[in-house]
């Protein structure tokens, strides 16, 4: 975790919320949240107190509650990214107590629930930190570098209308399943945030693997991996030193074996391009 300085204390007390029907045991939580006005300004950690937190709330609902209070106090709410709140769009992105997406394995921030914390806990919340993910405001970062990597080669070049009947191309269940497992990546960037080198290898290798495993993806495999890796490097992501932090923090349990596969793909592509 990067070193952060504490500048000022802002204490907010929440209006008592109406209790939920079935659960009791409301918690008091202390938060230290990264606030930063925009990409040009300096940020700082700010303290908040949230009371009457129900264990059934999601982490983001706890933030909603805090924001509602801040608004009622005529203060600026904390900006954070989110959309589906079902763990699938990859938009939510909080670095919680030193771990991307918080303490639980295989869970996105939006699927993290307050029952994973204890009454009285202090929780530190920061944005993803990587030079390829500049901070836009508070906890929101710019991940458009991922889109540019996909544009460089994360596709199969087939125009609409060129397809043959789907069952003309049988694909073994194992390959299909393995490809699907790699395709489950939600592009959240937790792997980058978790990595001390800010490497994007897990994300890139998941796409390379998905397509390399399918017969449809084979014709372009060499060009694909070369172009995607070149783009990744030019975006300023770091090198992979095999620490495995990415796999440990990936909410979709994307496997490190994808990185190994991508390295093989890359080597054979390099070899071929040199021979050519």
């Amino acid at each position: 975790m990067k070193i952060l300085k504490l500048h000022k204390e802002v204490i907010s007390n929440l209006n008592p919320q109406k209790k939920r029907n079935s659960m009791s045991g409301n918690m008091n939580i202390k938060l230290k949240v990264w606030r930063q006005k925009n990409s040009n300004s300096k940020g700082e950690l700010v303290n908040y107190k949230v009371s009457e937190v129900s264990p059934d709330m999601s982490f983001l609902e706890m933030f909603d509650m805090l924001n509602e209070t801040l608004i009622n106090e005529k203060k600026e709410p904390i900006a954070f990214d989110h959309d589906c709140r079902e763990g699938i769009c990859g938009m939510c992105s909080m670095f919680i107590n030193g771990r991307p997406h918080g303490p639980n394995d295989a869970v996105t921030t939006c699927q993290l629930h307050m029952r994973s914390f204890k009454d009285g806990d202090t929780i530190v919340v920061e944005p993803w930190r990587a030079s390829a993910f500049p901070i836009l405001k508070d906890l929101i970062v710019d991940r458009s570098s991922f889109d540019r990597i996909i544009s460089a080669g994360g596709f199969i070049s087939v125009n609409t209308g060129n397809a043959q009947d789907a069952n003309c191309l049988p694909i073994g269940k194992n390959e299909a399943d393995e490809s699907f497992a790699a395709a489950a990546c939600i592009g959240c960037g937790a792997c980058v945030a978790a990595c001390k080198n800010s490497s994007a290898m897990l994300f890139v290798s998941a796409k390379v693997s998905q397509l390399a495993l399918l017969p449809q993806g084979k014709p372009e495999r060499h060009q694909r991996v070369l172009n995607m890796v070149a783009q990744m490097d030019s975006e300023g992501f770091g090198a992979c030193t095999n620490t495995g932090a990415c796999e440990a923090e990936c909410p979709k349990e994307i496997s490190l074996s994808n990185i190994a596969r991508m390295n093989r793909e890359y080597l054979s592509a390099k070899l071929c391009s040199e021979i050519e």
Partner: protein, 666 residues
């Protein structure tokens, strides 16, 4: 205004093929000088964008998320329909067409739905070619499952993440064209108005959500692929950002709104847990393939469940009321969504709800886990007399493979393990069949402005069948619009790009800017969410699963009061020239409030029950929806006149190929 649906003449079966091969073309050289704006990057937007760019048009795409890949389509779970008949169970284009019309309670256009069924097979081919890893059988062939309202297996899927895989496929096609320089992508941009010039749509005003700057964009044509408006109810299964703003701005500039009151309430969602709730989570309809829905027969058991002295598993088989199997023996747990939702409400209203709130029923997998899958595996393993424990263990593995991510999600949210105890579910707002009225070409009543995907009203009538929204989004984007747009653009080849200094752009931008300043300057005392929640409650109570005239009238006046309060007492912190999430929400909720009123008005005028629109005054003795074909067999297209003032236009629905009947799933 006159509604012209532009349905081509001729036989239903050959209409589309004939039209497609005769609609005017634009030659490749001209395509390069024609610009198309696409708002939305979900299945409809992404597929249209890549296809049009491949064809040679100049395309710009806008979305409010930080990447096109995060559009709400990503969250679709269960699957996508196609009439492939790979299971050899008697499926056909005609059957898919018929099921869809019937499922929609005879309130959709024959010609549109038939076209949808015709292109459904191509969609699967296209997706597979672009690398979508659908589920497969050991022989390498594609796997299928069943969805509600059908008796064949025609749903293709990728675990419980079908939408994700389809969207990533369409998104990769879009990003490829971005890389090739044929598409310009604008993420974190929100469209806030359309610009009409000389009666045609010629552009949009968009706000860069990071800098807050307003931008003008010209297009020879504009496509709205902006999704549905379920969030008018505050709580729904839609993503937090899903909204009606794009469609609503177009509506106020002349695009009629079709059937706004047709809302789909999905029967299987995780029940509300408390006041903090920000959204509801769907448990895919595919679960009804293997889950049986029930409540206790005895009130004693209900009480025991509520005070925690019994769990679902403690209630013996004979004391369970599998009410869908009881009421609808032919379709059982696989009746369409509207029917299943109302049946759940009926049981809960009668006092049999299984949770403390009284608003939950069980969705139970134990039976199939053990006796269907457990047995299968035991037989494969050659175990003749498996123990109950073995059956459960074997079955669990199979269920995990089929629905693992959904079960995990359920556990994550509720803290309970659905492999061990039955899930609790309750209906929730999910999808909106209504939307911008479009003709056969998918053009709205503003020439040059199109609507695709969930944003239009077109194919699902009064109730959508499961796994048909993904099909429609991709049909519109890949296979319909790229042809039908030729009808309009072929006449535009000599239209030069209009400079955005044109006074229509200037005026539109000025209006948007004034609106934004108004939000910031009210400086009242209540947050945007306060108003959104209030609106949601009015809509759910009065315009939700069951509606009646009196309630709808009250709702309309309540909404009008809420609107006044909103414009007097709203508080939006921050500035306009920065990333300001509250400001974004304020704009969306302002539009939802106006839409809510129109939905109630539409529901009030439709004196019948059909599909998702259930008016308590109009039901059969058995409590089923009672249509009135004599008076209401039409699409209601509302033209905006002024605040709280709309004119109704009717498009008569003609059924020449299907005999319309009382829908029955018994």
């Amino acid at each position: 205004m006159k509604l012209e649906n532009k349905i081509p003449e001729g036989q239903l079966e050959t209409k589309w093929e004939k039209y497609r091969s005769t609609v005017a073309l634009v030659n490749p050289a001209n395509k390069r000088s024609l610009e198309i704006l696409i708002v939305g990057s979900g299945l409809a937007g992404s597929s249209a964008a890549s296809t049009l760019a491949e064809m040679g048009y100049k395309v710009k795409v806008f979305c409010f998320q930080d990447s096109a890949r995060r559009a709400h389509s990503i969250a679709a779970q269960g699957g996508i329909n196609a009439a492939k008949n790979y299971q050899n169970d008697g499926d056909s284009v005609h059957r898919l067409f018929y099921d869809t019309i019937k499922g929609g309670d005879y309130r959709a256009r024959e010609a549109n739905v038939h076209r949808l069924a015709e292109v459904s097979g191509n969609i699967i081919d296209q997706c597979v070619a672009s690398g979508v890893p659908f589920a497969r059988e050991y022989g390498g062939m594609l796997s299928n499952r069943s969805f509600g309202g059908t008796q064949v297996q025609r749903t293709f899927y990728a675990a419980g993440q079908t939408g994700q895989q389809l969207l990533l496929g369409a998104y990769s096609g879009l990003q490829r064209q971005v890389g090739l320089g044929n598409i310009q992508m604008f993420t974190r941009h929100e469209m806030l108005d359309v610009v009409n010039i000389d009666g045609k749509c010629r552009g949009i005003i968009a706000r860069d959500l990071v800098s807050g700057k307003l931008e003008r964009h010209f297009g020879h044509a504009v496509l709205l692929c902006t999704g549905g408006y379920g969030n008018v109810f505050y709580l729904s299964t839609n993503a937090m950002g899903s909204n009606v703003t794009a469609a609503w701005k177009a509506h106020k500039k002349g695009a009629s709104f079709g059937n706004p009151c047709y809302t789909q309430i999905h029967p299987t969602c995780i029940p509300v847990s408390g006041d903090h709730q920000s959204k509801l989570t769907l448990m895919s309809e595919s679960l009804r393939n293997d889950g049986r829905i029930w409540v206790p027969k005895k009130m004693d058991d209900v009480n025991a469940l509520r005070n925690g002295s019994k769990k679902g598993n403690d209630i013996p088989e004979d004391d369970r009321d599998y009410y869908l199997e009881r009421r609808y023996p032919a379709f059982g747990n696989l009746v369409p969504r509207d029917v299943a939702s109302r049946a759940a409400k009926e049981r809960c209203d009668a006092g049999f709800g299984v949770s403390k709130t009284g608003e939950a029923v069980f969705l139970d997998f134990a039976h199939n886990m053990k006796y269907k899958y457990g047995k299968q595996v035991a037989t494969l393993k050659g175990i003749n007399n498996p123990t109950e424990e073995q059956l459960t263990a074997f079955g669990k593995d199979v269920v995990k493979e089929k629905y693992g991510n959904l079960f995990d999600m359920y556990k994550q949210i509720t803290g309970e393990d659905p492999y061990e105890i039955p899930m609790q579910i309750y209906p929730a707002v999910h999808y909106t069949m209504g939307g911008l009225w479009v003709d056969y070409n998918l053009m709205t009543t503003i020439p040059g402005l199109y609507a695709l995907g969930e944003a239009n009203f077109s194919d699902h009538g009064a109730n959508r069948l499961g796994a048909s929204a993904l099909m429609q989004g991709l049909a519109d984007g890949y296979f319909v619009l790229p042809y039908t747009i030729g009808d309009f653009l072929s006449k535009e080849i000599s239209t030069k790009s209009i400079p955005t200094t044109h006074k229509a752009f200037e005026e539109a931008e000025k209006n948007v800017e004034e609106k934004i300043n108004t939000f910031l300057n009210i400086k009242g005392s209540k947050s945007v969410d306060y108003f959104h929640k209030k609106l949601g409650k009015i809509m759910w109570d009065k315009c939700g699963m069951a509606r009646n005239a009196e309630g709808l009238k009250t709702a309309i006046s309540d909404i009008q009061k809420l609107r006044d309060e909103f414009w007097k007492d709203l508080f939006v912190p921050g500035e306009s020239n920065e990333l300001n999430l509250e400001l974004e929400k304020a704009g969306r909720v302002a539009d939802f409030i106006e839409l809510g009123e129109l939905m109630c008005k539409d529901a009030l005028h439709r004196n019948e029950s059909c599909g998702g629109h259930f008016r308590e005054e109009f039901q059969t003795e058995e409590g089923e929806a009672q249509r009135d074909d004599e008076n209401f067999k039409y699409v209601a297209a509302w033209e905006y006149k002024n605040t709280s003032d709309w004119e109704l236009h009717k498009e008569d629905l003609v059924y020449e190929n299907i005999k319309i009947a009382q829908r029955s799933y018994k």
